[in-house]
Symmetry: C5
Subunit: 92 residues, 5 copies
């Protein structure tokens, strides 16, 4: 799981049928201190997150477990809206 | 899931049997503002996408879920033809 | 599996239901000589590890196997609290 | 899925039992224009590919689907011998 | 699958129960010509490999297939002790 900031949305005209009704967000992975990490990805959202929210997300088969139809071909999913994340690098 | 621009096709003489009839496209992963990200990959396509289309794609076990034979050995699949994607980096 | 040093925690207001009660830690991947590797990630913890501990962690479907509800959408999990790790680079 | 050029072979004295009889090839991932990408990997081969062939390969659980024993611990598998791949970067 | 040289071991006081008795080795991924690739990882070993051995390893769900308890939360596993690997880069 990683943290990310929600940046925007994706809209589609042609979808694989089990993706009908699934909301897709553009998210930018970030560290716990909100430094961006890597490139934005597209995530399925079942928690009604929106642009500006800090979220945590999973990849792979686990992503579809958050959707009503768990056989949907989804590999990135939002699982939490995060209040607060902290880490102390001096422990390294 | 990530976005990608379809660039071309792959044709094969010898295939694992459950891949017969599966269309394979060369796609270039891109960000929501269409900046290319990383290297092109080969994706299975069940939505009749073609060169020039903007698509979203998944990896892993989920990719084969879009095919008639879900036991096909496929790990990248196109799941949507995208109309529009946007993201606001000022939210970071 | 990789090693990591636990740096901190994540707290959330909105969670996917099967994640209720799952502790989430911010961990920094490290090598066996404790050199940091890559960026911190968020891991589910079922072993009561805490900030400062050296742990080993897994990704993907295996991560959820450590939780009471193995269908939880989790893709990074702590599986061991490590006493000691060593490696001899002169073997290369 | 990605494309790769077959470079060589791997031979082993001690194998996990379900890998008996599985041919292993050293392959170099390449792009559709045959530019090498990343480092060589070791792939299971059920199609009788050989050094010099251009192939497409999958990772993860899908790789073992090409083998007689689908429970073999294999995570890279060759699924096609490729005749031709093309892509038009001017579509970006 | 990738090749690796075994460098050392990991010992743990607290383990997820299904990991009891599973040997863990520190391995350095290498190419077929033994050039190191990336960072060392921790791998489960069911073949009695030891420091100095050249091995091949798999990631993900396949890794646990080599263990007595295939539900163990393991994502890197050693599947072969390698005698010889060769590849001819002039084929590129």
């Amino acid at each position: 799981m990683e943290l990310a900031r929600v940046l925007g949305r994706v809209s589609c005209s042609v979808k694989y049928p089990t993706l009908e009704g699934v909301r897709l967000l553009v998210i930018q992975p970030v560290e716990h201190d909100e430094t961006p990490v890597g490139d934005p990805v597209v995530a399925a959202d079942a928690l009604q997150a929106g642009p500006g929210d800090l979220v945590s997300w999973v990849t792979g088969r686990e992503a579809a477990l958050t959707l009503p139809n768990t056989y949907a071909p989804v590999d990135v999913g939002i699982v939490e809206i995060v209040d607060h994340a902290w880490g102390d690098r001096s422990l390294l």
